[in-house]
Symmetry: C2
Subunit: 146 residues, 2 copies
């Protein structure tokens, strides 16, 4: 989650291509989570040629490399978000305006420890996400959401 995209990509053994950098820029300049298609529409303003599969591929690679984070949306579509917070944490996402807010208090360390001790399993990944309506959206419409 560094600002020096070049070195971040090199660390991940990903070539530094204009499209890749542009995808990162798009996400970095957004305060909300975006779908691959939305990222693609924004990219087309800068590039005459750009394929949607390229966007999908890059977003997935970047998420794998922990440069961006994936949003687990109830509608089960893909969304990505560029998070500046470098430490382990989770998100409160607004289902209406798509704002993302950090949940900095992570009790996962405790949880993981107990899972290991009590269940004797190996943790591969975990999801902790709180879905709801943000302060602003609650004021706006009292809480109706799609």
């Amino acid at each position: 989650m560094l600002r020096d995209f070049q070195s971040v990509l090199k660390k991940l053994h990903l070539k530094v291509t204009p499209k890749r950098l542009a995808i990162l820029e798009v996400l970095k300049n957004e305060s909300v989570y975006l779908s691959p298609e939305e990222v693609w529409r924004k990219l087309r303003k800068q590039f005459s040629q750009v394929g949607l599969p390229t966007v999908y591929r890059n977003l997935e690679e970047l998420a794998q490399g922990n440069v961006i984070s994936k949003v687990t949306h109830p509608n089960r579509q893909l969304y990505y978000y560029f998070c500046l917070n470098p430490s382990h944490h989770h998100h409160f996402i607004c289902l209406s305006c798509r704002t993302v807010e950090d949940i900095d208090f992570c009790m996962f360390r405790e949880l993981e420890k107990r899972v290991k001790q009590e269940l004797k399993g190996r943790v591969v990944s975990h999801i902790l996400q709180v879905n709801g309506l943000c302060k602003k959206c609650l004021k706006k419409d009292g809480g109706s959401h799609a």
Copy 2:
């Protein structure tokens, strides 16, 4: 999550149909999470006619009514699990054998409180799931998984 399916369905204003009951039976008799298509294949052993859309619809209704629980799988396909534990809790799911184990210690109450206080948002839903490899699978193959 009661064993008396009839009354459970009535409470949800869902008609008590043979297919509906059979879907619940299928899930109840499984110790692992199942995809809609897998539930459907099992149903076809009992019913000469049964549509896959019926299975999808029923599973979704039952999940909405908190009779069964949905699994948030990394592969983003739908899976459902019948959980006997009636209290609020979360799951450790095995990515290899699909075993589900309860995580009974839920720190979510604390989390929710702080989200409300600090972010002033409304919580609509939350996901907390730990994905990994269960004790048995770790022994079996040392941890390789699809």
